[in-house]
Amino acid sequence: MAGLMAGFGCYTHAIVREVPTSLAKEALRTSQAEVDSTKAQKEHDAYVHVLRTTLGLEIVELPVDETLPDSVFVEDAAVVCGDTALITRPGAESRRRETEAMKGALKDLNLNIVEMIDENATLDGGDVLFTGREFFVGLSKRTNQRGAEILADAFKDYAVSTVPVVEGLHLKSFCSMGGPGLIIIGSSEPAQKALKIMQQMSDHRYDKLTVPDDLAANCIYMNLPNKGQVLLHCTEEEYPESVKVYDKLKDHMLIPVSNSEKVRVDGALTCCSVLINKKSNH
């Protein structure tokens, strides 16, 4: 019996989107970093390969759109939890159209679609941390209170708490879930502060795993049949110290995934896919 809040990390599908060549020049970024488009493409291919081949997820690939340089970061366009998908209203105006293709794909998957049509609301999926029991929504440059409210309305079963994001692009720029009840958190002061807020706001207790690098705290957790607990995390080349921390997770299947190029435009591992569980029907 699939009950409420069962099967955290169980996924059957992943929605991804190809890297447009426009990403290198036009993608939004908080730094002035240069991006190697080809290398980014390769990294992304490897990422999708892991999802499809290594993990056996069904991949839904959205068509590339050169007019949407940031469109590879599909996570920001939708928040999917259970059978409900919230189509967001991205904080960056240039990214609003990214949701169109996403909505179509989610509809095809027979999810209940909720659209964020309020013009005062903005929300990036990268600001949404779902712990399995509740949501934390980072109030950032891209996400505002109204967006969080609409998310709360879309997922009524869950508590939705807001967390100010003072540094970094998104809430998940310095944290993510490493398992049920396990929060991976960066060691920077803003990250630690955000964690404290989350802990205070929650009725549930979370373990934390602090990694030295904030960006390394973004990982992808899955709990897959025949695979057990899987964790996609940064590579040793990028964040050697943080990888040492990940290596302590003995119960997880650890899969390092390179993300050196997309990170230059503030893309993290979770940004590049929307994970869906289609078998967890109630």
């Binding site: 019996m1 409420l4 259970g82 059978d83 409210e149 709360a152 807001t162």
Partner: protein, 950 residues
């Protein structure tokens, strides 16, 4: 009349031993016993308990029909009071013969009144008891010896108690321990004579339960009747609600009279879940889970418990399974009955289809299993068990405050923007329409912070505060805070959760040993093969294990109780200390004034006031010439301040003075205390502002009228280790105080129920005095005392003259006095010792000043000097001086004039019938002082801001 049974007396002693605090534990134990005892033994125990209780019950009924605190506590005190009363007469006799007649008359009157009340209240004893009482009265009068009269009084009471006990026994057999615990049996008997009211209770399945209750029945009685009707044993999760004057849903306080809580003559209630168990699987009985399901279905369907489409469908499917059994494809009309049921606020065909689809997958599930599944999903919803209250933050932004098992949640729209877990909250308070929580400092923070919210009005602030207190107590405490503990709280209501905590109720549930009761589900009639009878729950095991852990905790509570029990013995001793008693009485008087302010307490308070007035009269009569002796007394007190005994030793004449003094002391003590306590300083300030009435007693008393109230959640909960010692001390002090109070309480006889409140208040003074002297205060107190002494003598002199005794009954909310009272109570909790010393000096000022001073004091720290000042001001300002003041006025040439001015402040949330309270107060005053005439009745009606807030 009937002869007393030896066993009865024993029982009484036991009962006495268990003070109000204990009473709760007793309830628990009794309930548990009841539960456990399916058979004869259990019944016997119950009977015993019931007997004990019943004995107490009569007393309160006699004294004051009233109000509300937890029945057990009240009950317990009552016997003591009775004894005290008896003793009192003696005191009067001892004191100088100045006006024996008056003194005698006053006690007699009191007795009579008490008897009368008793007869009214006690249904069982009605005829005989009344006769008895009359006889006694006569005898008392003839003898003129107060002591004798007292003894006689005791006898009748005992008889009545016996009768009641017998009744209780009879009923206990029929009904379960629950009823026996309460007064239900008695009341049933009374039906014939008491005014009965028909109560309509809407049950969770939507049906209406109608029953008759005595008009003065307490909330608990009705609640038990409903539980009895439902065959519900795990009833601590539930409660009764009513709609107040403003269409707000309020919880019926089980310890208070229903009549005083509900909107006039609207005896309409609803049975609801009050505490949502975080893990319903730990409930022992299916019937409990079923009722919880009913509540949650309603919560979900109404939108109070928001959930997603899928969850709506899932929960709906479990409801179908529980109510209709397996999905039957042959029945072509599934959608028909589905659409008759309400599953969601916006129920669509799509949802109904989804529900049916899911229903199919539950095949073979018993109703009990379906309920369990329903609950397992519902409990995960984020708003499960969250009680929402509209509020505004400091910036005026609309928010919602949610009270739940884990703490306090702050929502803006649907977002959780803050959360205060119970362990993080040091204090919960409200002042007018402001609601405050003091937050424990974080790891990196040095200071605790206070977060304030604005509620719509003072009533909603109070309602929120009460819900917080109750939820914290239920979910975080092992045992409810003993009634005495309220002293910890600075100002405001002494309201505490009176029921069992979750820990206790779980333990009690483990003792449930009855076959799963068969119950009919709402629509189960339609189900042919439903398996209601065969609920299989693995939950029981889990619950038992948990319970196993809990016992330890409970044991602690028991121990406390035992300590409290020891008090009775002490109480007995005090009688010798007549002076002490007098003081106490005086204190009570003032307290009673404060009490009057409380809505619920009004009548009782009035009675108390009257009683206190009579005492004052006596004391005046007795009181010898004023100043010189008094000074001596004062000095003695100052030096010996700590021990109550010294006071007792003091000559009776002093009594008057003492009385005044005591009052002052309280005030003083409160002042210092306030600063000492964490946030109390601020509170005190607030109180000062509020001075008027709300804060004072009403708050401390339980009250509903109070504007302010504080509650320190942590203390009882986690801090218990550290704090426990303090509490014990307090308890001890309280016990001492209680003894004193009891002794002195001649006048106080009023209401056993109220006794708790009174005791608290009264206790405060005694405790202060004893502690203060012993520990710190001595030095401070001494200096202060002299000043007071001077003042006191004057008062005494005045008092001596007793001619005309007009009683002025003012229904107003004078700012001064009440505030003080409140402060005092706070002090007790926090700094008993210091307070005591200070108290002595305060006495002088006492009368009028107190109120203002208290407020001022809060800010300063030591309010003694300020107190005196204020006293003066107060007197002049207020039309009706404090009781003390009036007494002083007696001086007039060769003629002695005793003037008793009674000021009765009635503060209410609209719940109180001011006119009725006033009428009763006047009536009682006349009865108490037949030889005096009521020369003036000033009704000063003030509408406070708080009320306006509504």
């Amino acid at each position: 009349m009937t002869t007393e049974a030896g066993s009865e007396t024993e029982v009484k002693e036991k009962a006495e031993k268990s003070p109000a605090r204990l009473s709760q534990s007793e309830k628990d134990t009794s309930e548990s016993q009841e539960v456990a005892a399916t058979e004869g033994e259990a019944e016997r125990q119950k009977e015993k308990e019931g007997k004990g209780i019943s004995r107490y019950l009569p007393t309160w009924f006699k004294k004051q029909k009233s109000q509300s605190q937890t029945s057990p506590t009240k009950e317990v005190p009552s016997p003591e009071e009775a004894s005290n009363q008896e003793e009192v007469p003696e005191v009067n006799g001892h004191p100088e013969e100045v006006e024996e007649n008056e003194a005698l008359s006053s006690p007699v009157q009191e007795q009579v009144e008490e008897k009368e009340t008793e007869s009214h209240s006690n249904a069982s004893a009605d005829t005989e008891p009344a006769l008895e009482t009359k006889v006694e009265e006569k005898s008392v009068e003839g003898v003129k010896a107060a002591g004798e009269g007292g003894a006689q009084e005791e006898l009748p009471e005992k008889q009545q108690q016996q009768k009641e006990e017998a009744e209780v026994k009879e009923r206990a057999e029929g009904t379960e321990g629950q009823t026996s615990i309460f007064q239900s049996p008695l009341r049933l008997v009374r039906k014939s004579r008491m005014k009965l009211v028909v109560c309509h209770v809407t049950l969770l399945d939507g049906s209406d339960f109608t029953c008759e209750v005595e008009k003065r029945a307490k909330g608990l009685f009705l609640f038990f009747k409903v539980c009895e009707h439902l065959n519900l044993l795990e009833k601590d999760y539930f409660g009764l609600t009513y709609m107040d004057h403003h269409e707000q849903k309020c919880w019926l306080d089980p310890t208070k009279e229903i009549k005083r809580q509900i909107r006039s003559n609207n005896w309409q209630f609803a049975f609801n879940v009050k505490f949502y168990p975080p893990d319903p699987s730990l409930l022992t009985e299916d019937i409990t889970r079923y009722l919880l399901c009913l509540q949650l279905r309603e919560d979900v369907a109404s939108g109070r418990l928001p959930c997603s489409f899928v969850t709506h469908a899932l929960l709906g499917s479990y409801t179908l399974q529980a109510e209709f059994g397996d999905y039957e494809p042959e029945q072509p009309r599934p959608l028909d009955y589905i659409s008759q049921l309400s599953f969601a606020p916006n129920q669509s065909k799509e949802m109904e289809e989804k529900i049916l689809e899911l229903h199919k997958s539950h095949k073979g599930m018993t109703p009990a299993q379906a309920d369990t599944q329903f609950l397992e999903n519902a409990k995960k919803l984020s708003m499960y068990g969250v009680d929402l209250h509209h509020a505004k933050d400091s910036e005026g932004v609309d928010i919602m405050l949610g009270v739940c098992a884990n703490g306090l949640l702050v929502f803006k729209d649907r977002l959780r923007i803050n959360r205060f877990a119970w362990p993080k909250i040091l204090k919960i308070s409200y002042k007018r329409n402001n609601f405050y929580i003091k937050i424990r400092p974080g790891e990196t923070e040095q200071f605790e912070s206070t977060v304030g919210f604005k509620l719509q009005n003072h009533r909603s602030a109070k309602r929120l505060w009460k819900v917080c207190v109750e939820n914290h107590s239920f979910f975080r405490l092992n045992a409810p805070e003993p009634p005495t503990t309220p002293r910890f709280l600075t100002l405001g209501s002494k309201f505490r959760y009176s029921g069992r905590t979750q820990t206790q109720t779980r333990l009690a549930s483990t003792l449930i040993d009855r076959p799963a009761p068969a119950f009919e589900r709402t629509s189960s009639k339609r189900i042919s093969r439903s398996l209601d009878g065969a609920p299989m729950i693995s939950i029981t095991e889990a619950s038992t294990t948990e319970n196993g852990h809990e016992p330890h905790l409970e044991l602690h509570s028991d121990s406390k109780v035992e300590e409290a029990d020891s008090n009775p013995g002490r109480v007995e001793a005090p009688p010798a200390q007549s002076p002490m008693r007098v003081r106490v009485d005086n204190i009570y008087v003032r307290h009673s004034n404060l009490m009057l302010e409380d809505h619920d307490k009004t009548q009782e308070e009035v009675l108390k006031h009257q009683a206190s007035v009579s005492e004052l009269k006596r004391s005046f009569m007795e009181a010898p010439p004023p100043s010189p002796p008094q000074h001596n007394l004062w000095e003695k007190r100052i030096t010996s301040s700590p021990a109550t005994t010294p006071r007792v030793q003091q000559p009776t004449t002093t009594t008057e003075v003492e009385i005044e003094e005591t009052v002052v002391v309280r005030e003083i003590s409160t002042k210092p205390v306030v600063p000492d306590e964490h946030a109390q300083g601020a509170k005190a300030e607030e109180a000062a502002q509020k001075k008027k009435m709300k804060q004072r007693e009403s708050v401390s008393s339980e009250s509903e009228s109070e504007d302010e109230a504080e509650y320190h959640p942590n203390v009882s909960v986690s801090i218990s280790h550290t704090q426990i010692p303090e509490e014990r001390e307090e308890e001890e002090e309280e016990e001492e105080q209680e003894k004193l109070t009891e002794v002195s309480q001649t006048a106080q006889s009023v209401n056993p129920e109220e006794e708790k409140k009174e005791v608290e208040e009264a206790t405060v003074t005694p405790g202060e005095a004893p502690n203060g002297p012993t520990q710190h205060a001595e030095a401070d107190a001494r200096p202060v005392a002299p000043v007071h002494e001077e003042e006191v003598p004057k008062v005494n002199g005045e008092a001596t003259v007793v001619d005309a005794r007009p009683q002025v009954i003012c229904c107003s909310q004078p700012p001064v006095v009440k505030t003080e009272m409140v402060t005092i109570s706070d002090t007790f909790a926090a700094q008993k010792t210091e307070i005591a010393t200070k108290e002595v000096p305060i006495v002088h000022t006492e009368t009028k000043t107190i109120t203002y001073e208290a407020a001022q004091l809060d800010g300063s720290g030591d309010g003694e000097p300020g107190v005196l000042m204020t006293a003066q001001t107060i007197t002049s300002e207020s039309l009706c001086t404090t009781t003390t003041t009036h007494i002083t006025k007696t001086l007039k040439g060769g003629l002695s004039e005793t003037r008793i001015e009674k000021r009765i402040v009635i503060t209410g949330d609209c719940d109180i019938d001011h006119d009725e309270a006033l009428a009763q107060a006047i009536k009682e005053a006349k009865e108490q002082h037949p030889d005096m005439s009521v020369t003036r009745v000033v009704v000063h009606k003030e509408t406070e801001l708080a009320e306006e807030e509504d």
